[in-house]
Symmetry: C2
Subunit: 323 residues, 2 copies
């Protein structure tokens, strides 16, 4: 992956520049919070995939850097709202914005970044871009709501429901980023569709791995503590696998933990030990790898190129990253 | 105003129908909350003004009803977020959604309604509509943020700052609604601009009156208690006027109340009595009337018609309504 960062160093630096220079509000609090949340720490997965998709389809122009920055604004807006929704303490290794400026500011600056992105994207005056981004953001929001409503009815969550939620919550925006790169390059409908599918499958893998890492990360490495999802009563794939495979007595024990208002370190350790015994983390990784493989095969119609190579490497990175 | 509701009864019923039928999510919790917040109680000011603007410019088609419903979605999204930001107990005479479903759901269903509206508006495939709505929502969000940041620095808020905030917070979307009606009717740029100005001025008047009514409403008539803005430390025009005109000792007393963590009924009564003594509520009404007059004069270029008459009546209604 380091080669990809190297090879597209200039493109990524241009995006970074656009991210900070496009905030553009004359309200000081907007600039202050937006700059804080946008500065530095993000992996910029969505901008990178947009750039590579655009390059794959032969795009030469510079608009892709601005467009990529707006996709990162939308992603950042969802992070701001998620952190309020989850009452998260840390984000990207630093204190979460709502802890510093309050929930009010986080909700409203999230709204601002989202509206700024929409405003800037419609200024491209390309109907296809508008449709793709609007559709994806709608699905993303539905995914978030599915998550909180599924968590209220813990017993009924199936793997299919989990995947549907993940496809919307994370897949939709990554799919849109890839398709938007293709649209900017004036790619034909089938190339656009292939890149949309690539992004959807890869985004799904990305979230599965993210959820899995909650059970293998080392404390502050993720900027949050191990087993945080359990503390929030969030059921993700490893836990789902465990609940479906563990014997009835231990299942009762796990479910009792999920219903506790306070989950302590011992509870988490017990559940993680069970997950290791039943291969639940392993299972998540297998499913994630399947999605990565399907994503890569969506690109089979494209000829060989540096950009295609980079997309393959980025795809593999999803299941090899440790944060 | 009753004549306007009568005369455009059919148009408004069509909008009401669109409001409920366009929610269109297959996620049950989205449908449940969105239906709850959209049902019945709203005054539908923005849809009405969009319809009248469209009619004024000769629009005959039916798309205006759908477009008006999407503007109401955006307005409702901001109400959902505002109620979380303000921790409001009631909205439109019924318990606020976040009290029933939690802050999480209110934030996310607000996001959903906003993204659904954007998604539906871009489907019209009219670039001007996209620009107008995106610009207005961005300004609206900035207005909300200005409000919370100005309230943090109470001493420096001037009337100019208050007006700038109100123009963004409320004027921007009403201005957009009016201009969108004109765009749908294929009106020329000067008619579009006139309706934009009409909406901006009228929306500003509307918010000034709304803020003023916080000090003259009778308890539950507004679905919230008298002087609620003081409880939230929100400085609006009557209070601003009072602070600028009252003698120094009493100003100190008022400012001390604003800084208290708990404001009781006696505090509010004392401040309202001072406002009456200094004519602060009266003053707000005078300013609001000036804005209404300026709004009406923005329409001077349009020939006489039922729609123009209705817009004049709607404009006057802003300063005669009692809720």
């Amino acid at each position: 992956m380091a080669d990809v960062w190297d090879c597209y160093h200039w493109d990524l630096a241009a995006v970074e520049d656009q991210i900070l220079s496009n905030i553009g509000s004359d309200v000081p609090l907007v600039r202050e919070i937006a700059t804080f949340v946008l500065q530095g720490e993000g992996k910029r997965v969505r901008p990178l995939l947009l750039l590579l998709s655009a390059r794959l389809c032969g795009c030469q122009g510079h608009e892709m850097h601005a467009l990529a920055s707006f996709v990162e604004y939308i992603h950042t807006a969802t992070l701001l709202h998620d952190d309020v929704v989850d009452d998260a303490g840390f984000r990207r290794g630093k204190e979460a914005a709502h802890r510093l400026w309050g929930n009010q500011s986080s909700i409203l600056v999230g709204d601002y970044l989202y509206t700024k992105a929409v405003r800037s994207i419609v200024d491209f005056r390309i109907h296809e871009l508008n449709s793709v981004i609007a559709e994806s953001v709608q699905r993303m929001t539905e995914g978030e709501i599915m998550q909180i409503s599924l968590n209220c009815h813990k017993s009924v969550l199936s793997q299919t429901e989990y995947i549907q939620m993940v496809e919307r919550k994370t897949g939709a925006l990554i799919a849109a980023a890839c398709q938007m790169g293709a649209i900017l390059a004036d790619a034909d409908a089938s190339d656009q569709e292939a890149l949309f599918q690539f992004g959807l499958l890869l985004g799904t893998a990305y979230q599965i791995v993210d959820d899995m890492l909650d059970y293998v990360g080392q404390g502050d490495r993720l900027g949050k503590t191990l087993g945080n999802d359990i503390r929030q009563g969030k059921i993700t794939l490893p836990l789902l696998h465990l609940l479906h495979h563990v014997d009835e007595i231990r299942r009762g024990d796990v479910q009792a933990v999920l219903e506790q208002s306070h989950v302590d370190h011992g509870d988490i350790e017990r559940i993680v030990a069970l997950m290791n015994e039943y291969g639940s983390v392993q299972y998540s990784m297998t499913i994630a790898r399947e999605y990565v493989d399907k994503a890569k095969s969506a690109l089979v119609g494209f000829g060989e190129s540096t950009a295609k190579q980079a997309l393959y490497i980025a795809a593999n990175y999803m299941t090899t990253r440790d944060h």
